[in-house]
Symmetry: C2
Subunit: 379 residues, 2 copies
DNA sequence: GCACTAAGTTCAAGCATTGAACGAATGAGG
DNA sequence: CCTCATTCGTTCAATGCTTGAACTTAGTGC
């Protein structure tokens, strides 16, 4: 603690407030002052180093009626970007995201990672990152993996056992010379809906099914991770205490009734797009399979909502694709089972982000940290 | 915002830090400086008005080896107190609690509130509060009710429909001339284990059964309430999707298998103490009933822990009494069903607080606010 | 008595925000 | 074309909280 460290904290807090206002939308110093509750004087002071460092730019003066024209500030188009990367069982993906929330580049490469060694996968990811890296300062890399992450380590990944326990972040960091932050794909998909815009401010749960079923829970503007990273394991919520055996050792887990593999098997399909086509064609077997899954999912979600009391559920991943045929059954179960549901507090919506949600969230993890902890931007 | 409001915020924040350190244990200025990271100078400055206002006292000098003896500071024994009050279906309770966490007075009066009007109940509570009020400044009243509270209003109380929707806090406040804060009994029982000491700092869930089953979830040192106060409704977590019908409209709710009424009926008993005696005597019917309830509760808790990932469950209320005969079955279900449970992360403990937990939490709600928002103490 | 140690107090220095005053840039009206 | 009204952005003295160092106080050990 130096002499006046506490005042520096006040300044950083205000800097964060200003940057958050700018993420919401650009604005002149006077406008930002009005929106943040700070004074014009403080805004001049706070934005000066951001302009000097190339984080912000001053647009040409805007004529807006009477008085001196304002000069809006916004994030510099050549300012720093974050990189998101995703390792999944069937594909790798990367994306670059600016502080303004604009994606400048993205790639998705089908890859069967289950058969690859850890080194091979990391080499591939590093190569992809290099390919899309623009000529702009880099904030760091967010890395999404399908499994439970605790203290920066992948501690559980039923579908990628090869990667469990390994120092993934360090290994990728060594290859790229950048900070790498590791997190669970369900949490990052949820984050993508929260940052930088969309459902900002609201509590919600993002649910997706790929191999298992994962829920990312957003409370008070933060992804809730739990004591050891296991929070939001919706797939292993029990809906029939003596039901089907699950690989986790329990019985009657939601995953055994509403997992994507189950839906496909029941529908007699091998791939999601084939199922989607069958649904559009009105194939009764496919419709039945999805409706049954929707019911099971609805029971699990009802339980989740009775515990978390969040008003909104976002269906992502495969569920977003099936949303149209899945929601009715799920919503019906929720309506009868959620206590706060009498007044129709529960909302079930499809994710608008598509297959890039996870990698978007991975990059967002980095841009978000840069905004919330702006000390690195001004340093 | 006045000129230097932000500096006042810094001061209040430090004041809070110091008061929290004092709640933990008394200490001299030098000791507090070491524990809080502030300087001795700041501590002299911050504690001066607290001493002047009668919040703190300076003990006689303590000789502890070499150097000038320290003069420990602690909360003044005649300083302000908070009042906790509880309205339950079968009893009313009140208690006074000092900032130091010492209970000075408590009363529990068996009363059948279901047959009383709202006015009668409030009159009785107000009378009880007056009876135990000591000759010390009063911080306010925390009022616990068995139901869902949102925005200071009781919005759901299956067992006390008479009180739903009424402005309970205002009505009691008018009778007593004190601020009254309303909250749910499950949340307050949880708070009692968190504040002022006990499990402070750890995430946990407090579960109790009286009429329904309520869980108070403590995350990051705060009671988690959810978007509309319905969080932690463990009683309506589903464990058998096509199981027994519940009054809530759902089927297979935990409450229908592990509620106190169910246990008593299965055991052929009418009262909890009679059941406890039967258990001690080894009555097989009673043991069976409790074990079955334990299993159902364990399934519900496993689901809860897979969603919240909290390491500890505290059994309170009737469950604390039955703990010995309930835990084994519940723990067994949890061990096989909680994902993070492999390394025995899940801990199931009985509450040490007994029947005063709720009213303790109600009073704690007020002392806690006084410490966390100390502006009122120095004003 | 004297050196030593630790507690508590005093005080000048440092600094982020603030409100008011000021300078800058434009539109409206004559 | 000139002046006034209006709004944007900057400058500046004032405020008041924490800090580290110096200082005072009050004991122990020899």
């Amino acid at each position: 603690m130096t002499t006046v460290d506490h005042l520096r904290q006040v300044r950083l807090g205000n800097l964060r407030t200003v940057l958050l206002a700018l993420v919401d939308r650009p604005g002149s110093r006077a406008d930002l002052a009005a929106r943040t509750g700070l004074t014009k004087a403080t805004l001049s002071n706070l934005t000066e180093p951001l302009l000097a460092n190339g984080i912000l730019v001053e647009d040409a003066a805007t004529l807006a009626g009477m008085g001196r024209p304002s000069k809006p500030l916004r994030f510099h188009p050549d300012g720093p970007v974050a990189v998101g990367a995703e390792i999944n069982v069937s594909h790798l993906a990367v994306e670059t995201l600016g502080l303004d929330g604009e994606t400048t580049c993205r790639r998705l490469v089908p890859t069967d990672t289950r058969t690859s060694s850890q080194d091979t996968v990391l080499d591939q990811v590093a190569e992809l990152v290099r390919e899309i890296t623009p000529n702009r300062p880099l904030l760091g890399v967010g890395l999404a993996v399908p499994g439970v992450v605790h203290d920066g380590v992948l501690v559980r990944a039923p579908n990628l056992p090869e990667l469990v326990g390994a120092p993934l972040a360090e290994a990728l960091s060594a290859r790229l010379g950048l900070d790498v932050e590791l997190d669970n794909e369900a949490n990052l998909a949820a984050l993508a809906h929260l940052w930088p815009r969309h459902l900002a401010g609201e509590d919600f749960v993002h649910v997706s099914a790929d191999v298992g079923i994962g829920a990312g829970v957003v409370l008070g503007g933060e992804v809730y991770r739990g004591a050891s990273g296991f929070a939001g394991e919706l797939g292993h919520v029990v809906i029939e205490r003596n039901g089907l055996s699950c690989t986790c050792g329990s019985r009657g887990c939601v995953e055994r009734y509403a997992g994507l593999d189950v839906i496909l098997r029941e529908a007699g399909r091998r791939r999601l797009d084939s199922l989607a086509k069958a649904l559009r064609a009105g194939d009764p077997k496919a419709l039945d399979a999805v409706r049954n899954a929707g019911e099971a999912l609805g029971v699990g979600l009802a339980t989740l909502m009775n515990l978390f009391d969040v008003p909104t559920v976002v269906l992502g991943g495969s569920y977003a694709v099936l949303h149209e045929h899945l929601s009715a059954a799920a919503q019906s179960e929720m309506d009868t089972r959620v206590l706060a549901g009498g007044e129709r507090h529960t909302r079930l919506v499809a994710s608008p982000l598509g297959e890039f949600a996870v990698v978007r969230g991975a990059a967002g993890l980095i841009t978000r940290r840069a905004v919330l902890q702006p000390e690195r931007l001004v340093g």
